[in-house]
């Protein structure tokens, strides 16, 4: 019971960070969404040790384990656009899929390549060890 109360309190705290993010986004006319601003804000406060990890740990772990649930209502909005899945719209869907596959491949390979370069850097040989361990771990 105590654990549930802690989780609820921590989710409320995360919600407050989301609202703070929304407020900052409007105030400063930032080009990113309030939730991302809230994420960055919490991250910075964790780094500065203003917010201790244990204040948000249980709530974060819980809410993250149900992450896909929170997408359902927004994603179901697709009912208002079902016409896109017929006729010429299907071609657009195909383009999106191809382009997204290319995006993922390009991002992953560019980052892998840059990570190897970083590992080879002479002044950073300490990381070379870590890198090769990580590279050896095939997934």
């Amino acid at each position: 019971m105590k654990k549930i109360i802690i989780i609820i309190a921590q989710v409320i705290l995360l919600y407050l960070f989301f609202q703070a993010g929304n407020f900052l986004q409007r105030l400063l006319h930032l080009p990113v969404s309030g939730s991302i601003v809230g994420l960055l804000l919490l991250f910075v406060l964790l780094l500065c040790r203003i917010v201790p990890l244990k204040w948000i740990e249980a709530g974060s772990v819980t809410i993250m384990s149900y992450l896909p649930l929170f997408f359902i209502p927004a994603t179901a909005g697709i009912v208002n656009h079902l016409d896109i899945f017929s006729g010429k719209g299907l071609l657009l869907i195909l383009i999106l899929i191809i382009s997204s596959v290319l995006t993922m491949a390009a991002a992953a390979h560019a980052s892998q390549w840059l990570a190897t370069l970083n590992g080879r850097h002479p002044g950073r040989s300490r990381w070379l060890g870590r890198r090769s361990i990580e590279k050896g771990k095939e997934i």
Partner: protein, 228 residues
Amino acid sequence: MVMLAAGIVLLNVAIYLMMSVIYRRYHLPFLIPALTATAAVVAILLWFKIPYDTYMIGGQWINQLLGPAVVSLAYPLYKQRHVLVQNLPAILGGTIAGLLVGMFSGLLLAAGLGFSKSYVLSLLPKSITTPVAIQISDSLGGDSSLTSVFVMVAGFTGAIGGPYIIKLFRIRSEVGIGIGFGTASHALGTAKALEYGEQSVSMSSVAMTVCAVVGSVIGPLVAWLMYP
């Protein structure tokens, strides 16, 4: 009204839990609960001719949790902070390369197949998380409601196709996997990256965040290159 909202919330949670059980049982990529549960909800709405606005009386309560759920990604980010610093060039380079390839391939294919400028521009921010993508699309003269559908398709392409893409393109490191998921498929991809370990999730949520920020800047530039 409250009863209706509570009923819709309970129905959503029940469908989600049921789909999660099925996913854990069979573990096939196209059975991810974000897809199957949404499909079930859409089917119910169409079958019983329930308007989306009616459904959202309850749906908005779940939708409200999407914000704090994104905020909670600060947790894996913080726990992996040392890995982040070590991989900063890889993160920035990977997301920017992915964004450019994604934007240009989408634009060129769509324009090449004769789609109008409004469609093409709506496609541009597809790999960026919905709230930000909508802002970018609006500012470029795209149709933001179309954009939100395109964002979903990009999200599901990564969330469902991710495991196949990883094999096909021989992506080997957890860092590469995470950055791939986050750059191509924003939060939906990040939810899938959870299955590949803590390093992947943190890389994915960082990539998603970097994409939102960098995409807001290079989106207009790419659009201007296409339609000067």
